[in-house]
Symmetry: C6
Subunit: 101 residues, 6 copies
């Protein structure tokens, strides 16, 4: 998995993400002070999306990859502290989630 954070994202970068989002949601995320990006294989991204959804103060969007059904990028919008905290959660829990099988 790979992680990036963009602080005060430009309109151009937000447009690139919004043109590719998977959900049908039409309202823009309430806070776009920062955007966290997570990229990985599909199985990792489903788990990461679940962890991010359970974090507070962030909005999660799956960004479509080379075909509509293939999610390879997750965008997490919110204030900087919340986005950083959600990314840290994904990083820590993704490894721990593997010991069940």
């Amino acid at each position: 998995m790979e992680f990036r954070i963009i602080k005060a994202p430009s309109q151009g970068a937000i447009d690139i993400l919004m043109r590719r989002k998977g959900s049908a949601r039409t309202e823009t995320p309430p806070c776009m002070e920062a955007v966290g990006l997570v990229q990985g294989r599909m199985i990792e991204m489903v788990v990461a999306a679940d962890i991010a959804e359970k974090a507070v103060g962030v909005t999660v969007e799956d960004i479509r990859g080379s075909c509509p059904q293939n999610m390879i990028l997750l965008a997490i919008f919110g204030d900087t502290a919340s986005v950083e905290s959600a990314l840290r959660d994904i990083k820590n829990k993704a490894e721990e989630g593997m010991d069940i099988c």
Copy 2:
């Protein structure tokens, strides 16, 4: 093959899976206490789907990959114990199934 388990999945993670499922089934799985994820090449996933279908207490969905015809992810819904048991079955039998040829 890779394995993950999500306990008490968030609505967002379930939505991501349901937007991409291969079957035409419209009812949601009866129990979604946990969801097991299995990812692999197509030949492995057909075998894994067969093993999961023969396990008790779980509902199996193939999740479409980069194009509709290419299945790369299997989602197994049920109570936590049943999902863990189905994942363990796949892990053990997938290896043993190769000695025939």
Copy 3:
């Protein structure tokens, strides 16, 4: 090339294969006691399909991969002994077919 055999395949596993078959044939294979799976690159699969078609007691279907034109999986239906024999044929003859060029 990779090989798998499923004995007494579940309806779910058969559905996954039938949703992706390349031929326009509408009747189901006469015997589905077992299904053999062969996966490889396209050039290998054309040769494997030819060998399987020449074997007795089995029905061959090419399963579409990531796009309709891309065959990456072959499903061979029949009684267990015939399927095992067809898979063994493919394994042996595929190697021997290379010494012509």
Copy 4:
């Protein structure tokens, strides 16, 4: 580049090739005693198609790969001796064609 030859191809194997051919030609090749298969990257296949077109006694078809525009397989129909000779031509001239640049 990879090479295979099928002698007396089964109807099933011919069907798989014909369902995926790139040209709009509707007549079947005049002789289908044997079929030669060549697989490679697109740049190699254009050169191989040119060499095969210049050989005698064979019909050349480009078989579409994972998407219609990406040709990865060449099928060469004819009597066994002509097909073997065309495959040998491709093998020899493909290497020699590289010393120009």
Copy 5:
């Protein structure tokens, strides 16, 4: 990430880029003295687009890759000095942006 710069680009090269741009913008970039190209995985390209958008004197276009949703190339138009400066910014900041997580 990979970088290239084309000075005084030919109409043919500009056409190739314009046929594939992601945005719906119809006006051509005000200055096309030079074009900078950046290629990478999607997560890197979103960050690079953000850095380029914040640079002065350049116009940024994301160029679509193998499928419409998968951006793999960024084209940055402007005078030579501005394009070189934007490329240098991307190179320096892309590495530094990783230490947050």
Copy 6:
């Protein structure tokens, strides 16, 4: 990057290229004594197209890869000497163009 040259190309090889060209141009190139082929990643091909467009006596076409937006092959038509000279230009300048960043 990979290079090939076909002298006196057969109609079959020209058809394969013309079925996949990116431009909307309808007239055939004025001289098809030889065709040069260049294959590489998209960023390299944009630079190569620019170099070829600036060479004299040749016509440049970008050939579409696995999807309409993905150019992976460049075809350069002209008399043999001009095509060879254009290919040599691409080979030399493509390396030198990297020292700017």
